[in-house]
Amino acid sequence: MIEVEGISKSFGETRALAGVDMSVPAGTVQGLLGPNGAGKTTLVRILATLMAPDTGRARISGVDVQKDPVTVRSLIGLAGQYAAVDETLTGRENLVMVGRLYRLGTKLARARAGESLERLGLAEAADRPVKTYSGGMRRRLDLGASLVGRPRVLILDEPTTGLDPRTRLDMWAFIRDLVAGGTTVLLTTQYLEEADQLADHSIVIDRGQVIASGTSAELKARLGSDLIAVQVRAAELDRATAALAGTGCGAPVIDQARAQITIPVCDPVPDLMAALRILDAAGIVPVDLGLRRPSLDDVFLSLTGRATGDDDLAVPLTATSRTPPPSRSPA
């Protein structure tokens, strides 16, 4: 449904995309994971015909985005992180306007607008100016605007960035609902959890290149489903690292600055208990010790050997996580 072959795009000296390939089958949700500046939005803009790639080609439902952008636009719906809706118009007026620009005719545009508003839980606020809406309501309206044309392909650019956990859960429910109706979705996100919740298949991009792809389960399997994070006194870091070698089911990541060892594990509780026994035997008392789920940060550390450099990333993950935030020492 979405096919991307060797797309690259540079802005001056900056290489935003360096040869990205991607293929999304019809009726599935593709996650596009990456930190800020990885090139996600550039790819979205190319697919939404807002920008031309330097090289490569992209097709949506078999239609080339560069050769026939008008047809592509009639196939896609775009909802972004900035909630591109008109503040002075009411929610309904916004959607009717978009419907008419899809050339639905007044009657159908009105019907679709009403339907979208209903579906997104905005029926009550429909006739209020958008400037009175909360951030979450705007984002939903933006999503609604992308739906009035009944797109076959929905492109969601970080649809929940900056939303509070409750609103994020609502958004997820709406998106799931759409997918159930057969829409193909490309979802960019900074949150592994979001991809985990919604995407059938994900690619991870960094510095404009695909560095990993697979189902969420596969991506996480590469990391071990959970992680043991052991923080020790700096002086004991090397000794602890040596002692813990062989624990878990993947290569440990050592954070020298924080004197922290992160170990992927496949059997979380037995592995944690084993690690405890090893540390105890070596006479090392950790400063902090816990079991946690991998974050996008961990994916990046593991795939690229460096952090995403975005301190914000950890916050939304723990805020929305169904699992508790990094637990303290179980001892």
């Binding site: 050769k67 952008p69 008008v70 896609i76 900035y82 118009l89 899809y102 005719g105």
Partner: protein, 278 residues
């Protein structure tokens, strides 16, 4: 893949393999329909934020009062009462300043993402600009009528009959519409509302003041006269003056029409091209 497109009114899908690299064109009726939708949206915005319109009209009203009662006594224009000289000039000035709102509005739409929404829809691209300039034209109609009322309150009178008076309004609006496309290009280029406001006034300022809007060209130094006499704002002001007060019209009218056409012919394609690229 099930049939999702149930609307019969959508543009017909082009053949499966487009034979040219030219983007598919929309029919003219579609461009017009889209422009109307966009214009309506912009007019709704104007109507819902009347304070913007009020402040936009306070400025020309101040100019009327300032020149009518403060500077007017010191300005001598032979053969015509100053208020009858002034108001036609102010009408043109108002329309020109009004055209700068095209730059501000477009750059606002760019910075808040609405333009991206429009560009991702299967609508005509020039319709976004056409809708914007048409809305600003309607806004200018309102402002011109208001200025006529204000002018008449301070003593301005039409001395040349109804038909020419209507023609005068049309001439002023035509120049304003043409200039809207210049400001559309500026708005798309700077893409920041505050800068757009300033960048819009920059070219306007010398044109409005080195003109026959407030004073007679004859009072200017010789080197300035040639420019001041022939530039579009003077030509339009002189046309409006002749149409409302009587006197020879043809030369100034032709100049104004030529200027407006030339500005449109140059800047409308430039703005549309710029819009395709942003």
């Amino acid at each position: 893949m099930t049939a999702v497109q149930e609307s019969p009114a959508r543009p017909p899908a082009p053949p499966e393999e487009p034979t040219t690299t030219e983007p598919a064109r929309l029919p003219r009726s579609a461009i017009f329909a889209d422009a109307v939708v966009v214009a309506r949206r912009n007019l709704t915005r104007i109507a819902r934020t009347p304070q913007l319109l009020v402040f936009a009209t306070i400025q020309p009203v101040m100019f009327v009062l300032l020149f009518r009662y403060v500077f007017g006594g010191a300005i001598h224009v032979p053969g015509i009462s100053y208020v009858d000289f002034l108001i036609p000039g102010v009408i043109v000035q108002t329309v020109v300043f009004g055209a700068t709102s095209t730059a501000v509005g477009l750059s606002q739409d760019m910075s808040n993402g609405i333009i991206d929404r429009f560009r991702s829809l299967p609508m005509s691209r020039s319709a976004v600009l056409a809708g914007r300039t048409i809305a600003d034209l309607v806004r200018n109609v309102f402002v011109v009528l208001l200025m006529i009322v204000v002018g008449m309150a301070v003593g301005f009178r039409f001395h040349n009959g109804f038909g020419p008076a209507v023609a005068a309004v049309f001439v002023a609006l035509l120049l304003g519409y043409a200039l809207s496309w210049v400001f559309a290009l500026i708005g798309l280029t700077v893409a920041d509302p505050e800068t757009a406001q300033l960048a819009g006034f920059l070219p306007i300022f010398p044109l409005v003041f080195a003109s026959s809007v407030f004073v007679s060209i004859q009072s200017m130094p010789g080197w300035l006269q040639a420019f001041a006499k022939n530039q579009p704002i003077s030509r339009a002001a002189d046309t409006v003056r002749a149409l409302t007060q009587g006197g020879p019209v043809a030369t100034n009218l032709i100049w104004t029409l030529l200027w407006s056409t030339a500005i449109l012919a140059v800047f409308a394609p430039l703005a549309v091209r710029r819009y395709r690229k942003v």
